[in-house]
Amino acid sequence: MFPLGIYPYIIGGLIIGIGVALVFIMTGQHATQSSFFSSTLSYFSKLPYFQRKTYLDTREWRLYFAAGVTLGAAIYASTFSLDGFWTTKVQLWRIIIGGFLVGFGTRLSSGCTSGHGISGVASLSTTSLYAVITFILFGIVSAQIVRFLGVLP
């Protein structure tokens, strides 16, 4: 079940949760991820979709939050990590097509693994719970099909 042990997952999850908790207690905001991409596009695109109030109101702090996420991962890789920086063997075409589907899907669904998965579930939102079950199920189906077709990893 857990070939790499359970501690990295539990410790990592708790630290993520403490970050979300800190932001909520201090500011009342839900520190979630996927809206960052749309709210940042509102600086560049005049399309009504990007110019909606919720993106304009949150786009500044989302930039600071995203910068923190990237830097936090870099700090981990250069300090505590045993393997340091990593590379992936996942093919570029999978990352490009997958990235497009992830971006489109999370916006259509109004949440991602952090918005529905952490903040939504923590808020006991049934909408988020249905979304989480759906994307995990389809993620499993999609990953199994890719593996069945002999595309690795």
Binding site: L22, Y76, S142
Partner: protein, 122 residues
């Protein structure tokens, strides 16, 4: 930088640090969950939700408003066809690439991108 943005930055640091510690910026680890070989992602998501649950549901019972002012905003999402359709499309892309929005931001920090940048300029 005002106080709110400093808090958001520190919250982001913790989020990215924890995500990297749990290995979830690596597509291979996420894929090993979706291929049902390593169930760690459920543990990580559960541990994160649990600490967020305390802050979101219990703290507002004792504290009337956030430390830096404003109000505790409930996360309101109404279930619609788009919630599920979007989750299906996201899931397919997630299973194909092993990346989600948070992990892709973190992977800029602990993955090949920053490493190559450092190699080029250091």
């Amino acid at each position: 930088m005002n106080n709110r943005n400093i808090v958001l930055f520190i919250g982001g640091l913790l989020f990215g640090f924890g995500l990297a510690w749990g290995g979830m910026a690596k597509p291979e680890i996420v894929l090993s969950f979706l291929q049902l070989k390593d169930y760690g992602l459920i543990l990580l998501m559960g541990a994160a939700s649990l600490s967020a649950f305390v802050a979101i549901n219990i703290v507002p019972k004792f504290v009337s408003k956030p430390v830096l002012g404003g109000e505790f905003k409930p996360r309101t999402r109404t279930l619609s066809r788009n919630t599920i359709l979007g989750a299906i499309i996201f899931g397919i892309g997630w299973g194909l690439s092993g990346l989600c929005p948070g992990s892709s931001l973190a992977s800029l920090g602990d993955g090949p991108f920053l490493q190559r940048l450092i190699q080029r300029f250091a």
